[in-house]
Assembly symmetry: C2
Homo-oligomer: 357 residues x 2
């Protein structure tokens, strides 16, 4: 029975109306739970829908009213933190009439513009986006067109809502932890300049700033060491390796997030060092961080909660709220085995082989 393609979703609202012996408008009202339908009619229509296996065409709906679709734009599915946002969002939507669709930002095309546009083109009822770098002006225009919630963007437009982690608090916790352990030579590994400068709305920029601030406050200004590298695991690994083999080898490295920290850990091992030689800390608390072989000290920023909050704010806005809301999620330091007190001077084991297991 292959080949011939039936006119997809061929049963229309008209068919249902005929079957139930009512008008199209009546059916429409029933499926939207709109005002003005008698219980009797509702019942007959529901039965007809059931019987015919009718499914409303979202395209047709989109031409007049709501599509009951929420769109979320995600920059990098490979970073396990983002799927956690999705988990949160999906569960928040479970049982609601809304469906979530995800548009992955094509890394080849700059910063999610295209993906967000794709969502708007599809007439989603609301947009959640995680591209903190898009220009404010464009974002305002977008927000004037469709309800928007931005994740991880530290500004406070009146046009859209935001859900952010308190990156300053989180970074403060990590840094204080490292300093209390006795570290002085603490390096920070982060993205290229272009991605961390713009007006401090990006989480990484805040973490960098806070790193600098805490170092200064602790009298370690002269120990500040910032390494910048592209996002790819290979690039991070290379940069970390270089840092570790340099003259100014730090005793601790604070990576801008866990994905990066994993690359740093690999470099530490490849340099013949262990966590006793170089402490490593990250940010996000991705699932793998608790693995005994990884055991990464990090900051939990509860991605599920952020995803859930984003959906709630968005649904609220769709329902009509216009005053902006800005949710801040509190981060929590999670101390694990990857951070240790620095070795006392002179007992370096620079050439020790990595012993696994």
């Amino acid at each position: 029975m292959p080949a011939s393609r039936t006119p997809a979703g061929s049963v229309t609202i008209q068919d249902v109306a005929r079957e139930a012996g009512v008008s199209r408008a009546a059916v429409s009202k029933v499926i939207r739970n709109a005002y003005g339908v008698s219980p009797a009619m509702r019942e007959r229509v529901t039965a007809a829908i059931e019987q015919l296996g009718y499914r409303p065409s979202v395209s047709a709906r989109g031409m007049r009213g709501a599509t009951f679709t929420l769109g979320i734009e995600i920059p990098d599915l490979a970073n396990p933190f983002f799927p956690r946002l999705l988990t949160g969002a999906t569960t928040a939507l479970s049982g609601s009439p809304y469906q979530l669709i995800i548009a992955p930002a094509d890394p080849a095309h700059s910063e999610g513009h295209r993906a967000i546009q794709a969502l708007v083109d599809r007439k989603v009822d609301g947009v959640i986006a995680v591209s903190p770098l898009v220009e404010p002006a464009w974002l305002e225009t977008l927000a004037a067109t469709v309800p928007v919630v931005m994740l991880g963007r530290h500004d406070r437009s009146t046009g859209y809502d935001t859900v952010v982690n308190d990156d300053e608090a989180g970074t403060g916790q990590v840094m204080r932890h490292l300093i209390e352990l006795g570290h002085r030579d603490i390096a920070h590994l982060t993205y290229e300049e272009e991605k961390t400068v713009p007006g401090s709305v990006v989480p990484q920029a805040i973490r960098l700033e806070t790193y600098r601030k805490v170092m200064k406050e602790a009298g370690l200004a002269s120990h500040i060491q910032v390494v910048r590298t592209p996002m790819s695991e290979a690039a991070v690994h290379r940069a970390a390796l270089q840092l570790l083999s340099g003259l100014e080898r730090p005793t601790a490295i604070f990576a801008c997030h866990d994905e990066t920290a994993l690359g740093v850990q690999r470099a530490v091992a490849d340099a013949g060092l262990t966590s006793a030689d170089v402490s490593v800390a990250g940010y996000d608390d991705i699932e793998i961080a608790r693995h005994p072989g990884v055991s990464l000290t990090t900051v939990n920023q509860d991605g599920e909660r952020m995803g859930r909050l984003a959906v709630e704010l968005l649904l609220d806005r769709i329902k009509g709220r216009t005053e902006p809301r800005h949710e801040i999620v509190r981060p929590d330091l999670v101390v694990r085995g990857s951070t240790r007190p620095p070795r006392p001077r002179g007992s370096s084991t620079r050439l020790r082989a990595l012993g696994e297991g």
Copy 2:
């Protein structure tokens, strides 16, 4: 300038037509690269589109023709293998007029039905799905409605294409590797029965079958030990811990995929054992497997390639191909530190503490 919401994407094909001084039909032809437009007109229309910032409404398109949208249904974004499929699919689509949208399968609702339906409701031009458990009959109906490519489904319907990994070959490689190392007590950790039985179309079912087959062929039938557990990390951890503390403690555990293997590794550590006591192998070769602290022996099944192939097959089908195609991706064993020869009898270190670093 908040509040007032402009009629989203308010510039229509009509506006463009007026601006360019042509008919709507002409504009439509230009944006679809259809036959019958003079270079002069094409130019004028293109300019008008540019000038007005016109974007076609996908909803409206969906009512008549193509939406240039491909839908992919993914069961579990938290498992890093699936994002790799998406990476492959996204790159394969880069530069094409098609946009990918992802529908996450809500774990609360059975097996992706709902997510796939959501895609079809949105009039996608084609569907890629990763829910091997949906019933064949339903799938045939679906495939008669819209082009479909199934990922990881080991059957050969004529209605849809498939892209699978050669799970039998991959499992064979792992098992032979373990046996060659000298292991005899090799356990297999997999899903609950319901998910591995149905007609062997599911990868996990094939891996289980092959595990049994290889064990028998190696004369180890009496050593077969299959542990079943729900998917969650916690459940896997619990099951593995129980297996490790039982009387029949295996010297090697082959987990049905890497995510599971990670949970097993955690259990091994929590039981005070190391990879010298119990070897662990997985399947997928997710990125973290190469981390020095994880160092998981596994089978690479090249998710990027599978994603890419799926998109190519789908585009082909959309272009008109009707004969089914079934692509098989060859797996590769990747040996790392998590598999070692079994300890000689009597030198068990059951109670040794886990030394990290």
